[in-house]
């Protein structure tokens, strides 16, 4: 690279070497991508949504490509806390980059129990609460759309953990601001947004939904305009940092999110079309700064002229 751009950012109490994290659910437990990029060069890795017990997830088909995007209905399949702590975390803990564990549960007590289960585990730097996963009935949407529930979940995790708590918001709401404020008040150190947008795809000839779950979450470049808007709205309304995501494919996309008000960004679906995307985006962002005469990436944060 040869550029001297300062790339370190602080998301609440957490210092990242650069603002680019891998997004939950699109990067497995990190190791899956180890061959294709240098994990130590990332700002951080957010792991696949973790629940207390292992989950099989939804029946296939679980994914379908759409115009400049994809739908997924994985159904939060994951290895569960025990296997995570024993088999997945040690690899991540040995990395230089930060490790954020994305949490999923179906009730407030379960969230508390999950946080408790992870308490003291070596190598976790922050928890990201997924109140927004649209795929599972009973949890998912119901939490994320209601400020009171979001606050309750946030508090439950905070009270059972010593780690910084990030809350990941759903875009499937009329107004994300009250929810963001509720999370902030309940002690979130940062807000991640956006999760996927609910959608559906149909096979017209077979007359069937293309996902076994019928509905799924839309991600990828198609949703970038929605993510940028929500990050812009929310970051102006809250006093805590925002981690922006949705459709980031390039360093310039990342810069757009920073300008909109994000302190850091996550790269999700892009990792599928190019497994080195996270590192590439980080490199391109530094290049962008160098080209634009930006000495410190923090200068971009919220610097949009409106």
């Amino acid at each position: 690279m040869g550029t001297k751009v300062k790339t370190a950012v602080k998301v609440g109490s957490l210092e990242l070497a650069n603002p680019v994290l891998a997004a939950s659910g699109t990067f497995g437990y990190g190791r899956e991508f180890a061959k294709y990029l240098d994990l130590n060069r990332l700002g951080g890795v957010v792991t696949k949504g973790l629940s207390l017990e292992p989950r099989d997830g939804n029946p296939p088909p679980r994914i379908v490509e759409t115009a400049a995007g994809m739908l997924n209905a994985i159904g939060l399949a994951n290895v569960g806390a025990e296997v995570f702590l024993e088999e997945k975390l040690p690899f991540l803990a040995a990395l230089d980059c930060k490790v954020v564990v994305n949490l999923y549960a179906e009730g407030i007590d379960q969230f508390a129990g999950l946080a408790e289960r992870l308490r003291g585990a070596e190598g976790i730097d922050a928890l990201e609460i997924n109140v927004s996963c649209p795929n599972v009935k009973g949890g998912g949407v119901a939490f994320g759309v209601d400020p009171i529930s979001v606050a309750a979940v946030t508090r439950a995790v905070r009270e059972n953990s010593d780690l910084p708590v990030w809350v990941k918001l759903t875009p499937n709401v009329t107004d994300p601001v009250p929810i963001a404020l509720a999370a902030q008040k309940a002690g979130a150190e940062a807000l991640s947004l956006i999760n996927t947008i609910m959608g559906m795809a149909i096979d017209a000839r077979r007359r069937t939904p293309r996902l076994a779950n019928v509905m799924g979450g839309l991600s990828g470049p198609a949703i970038k305009p929605v993510g940028l808007r929500m990050v812009h709205l929310v970051s102006r309304a809250v006093d805590i940092p925002v981690v922006g995501l949705g459709g980031i494919m390039t360093g310039e996309d990342a810069a757009e999110y920073l300008l909109a008000g994000a302190t850091a960004v996550q790269v999700g679906t892009a990792s599928f079309g190019d497994p080195s995307s996270c590192q590439r985006v980080a490199d391109e962002l530094a290049q962008f700064c160098a080209q634009e005469g930006v000495a410190d990436v923090n200068e971009l944060v919220g610097a949009l002229k409106t």
């Binding site: 659910g25 699109t26 990067f27 497995g28 899956e32 991508f33 061959k35 294709y36 696949k48 099989d56 997830g57 029946p59 296939p60 088909p61 679980r62 994914i63 379908v64 490509e65 115009a67 400049a68 995007g69 994809m70 997924n72 994985i74 399949a77 990828g220 470049p221 198609a222 494919m249 679906t269 990792s271 599928f272 079309g273 190019d274 497994p275 080195s276």
Partner: protein, 259 residues
């Protein structure tokens, strides 16, 4: 690992099927029959995802892919000129178990792509390889079939055809030839449409011959991370990732009822 491969050549071999030759030394060196690669043609957001393709062969630094145009990704691929670099990563997934003497390979349509790699590798090691190749019809495929027949002769592979329309070989489904062929076989390797694989698995099970199938599933990452490519598993339920636990799976591990 380099994530790019240069297109060396690309030959149409009839029926919308292309033989793609890529310069991809690291992948070629590491591949084995049954593994696959992810290829992405577009640099932009459309189409967004890479496409999985089985490795059809490896020759020195070159990787061979045999594919059929079925949608816009393969259509775009078929228009790529020699010299272009494609995003390409792999080899991914596990390979076939090649450790047998009288393997029976059952291919449906493009399922021949990975099986042919296996067939040649096993024949080279001295196994008596039989390949049953089923197509809906031979129309348009003459060029591809000629190539395969030449290679079969050179490699001492026994190759039989079935077509549903009777235009080549026995008329009917490829499984019609199986009962007899199974008598001598010590392992079945199969790749093709799910309904065919289910039938193959059940015939092999009846004959008590070990059977591996190579499955297809929509994939996003190809590396085991997205959990998008699963198929239902037995025993114990749950799912297996085709890109990670597969694409080659013991037929007994697949829950054919839920597939």
């Amino acid at each position: 690992m380099r994530k790019y491969a240069k297109v060396v050549s690309q030959e149409p071999v009839g029926a919308g099927v292309f033989l793609l030759r890529l310069e991809a030394p690291a992948v070629a060196a590491a591949t084995s029959p049954g593994t696959f690669v992810m290829l992405r043609v577009s640099g932009g957001p459309e189409p967004l995802l890479a496409r999985p393709f089985s490795v059809h062969g490896a020759e020195g630094d070159h990787l061979l892919i045999l594919y059929q145009v079925v949608g816009r990704g393969t259509e775009m691929l078929s228009r790529v000129e020699p010299g272009r670099e494609l995003a390409c990563w792999g080899p991914l997934g596990n390979g076939f178990n090649l450790d047998c003497q009288r393997p029976l390979l059952v291919a449906g349509g493009m399922g021949v792509a990975p099986l042919w790699f296996a067939a040649r590798a096993m024949a080279e090691r001295g196994a008596e390889v039989s390949v049953l190749f089923g197509l809906a019809g031979a129309g348009g495929y003459s060029e591809l079939l000629a190539v395969l027949q030449d290679q079969a002769e050179a490699g001492k592979i026994s190759l039989s055809f079935t077509t549903e329309d009777g235009s080549l070989g026995e008329k009917g489904l490829v499984t019609h030839l199986m009962p007899q062929a199974l008598e001598r076989a010590d392992r079945v390797l199969a790749c093709g449409p799910p309904a065919m694989l289910k039938a193959v698995a059940s015939l092999a099970a009846e004959a008590e011959v070990a059977c591996q199938v190579s499955l297809e599933a929509p994939m996003a990452c190809g590396v085991g991370a997205c959990l998008g490519c699963v198929v239902p598993a037995v025993p114990g339920g749950g799912y297996l990732r085709v890109c990670q636990e597969g694409p080659v799976l013991g037929a007994a591990r697949v829950d054919w009822e839920r597939l």
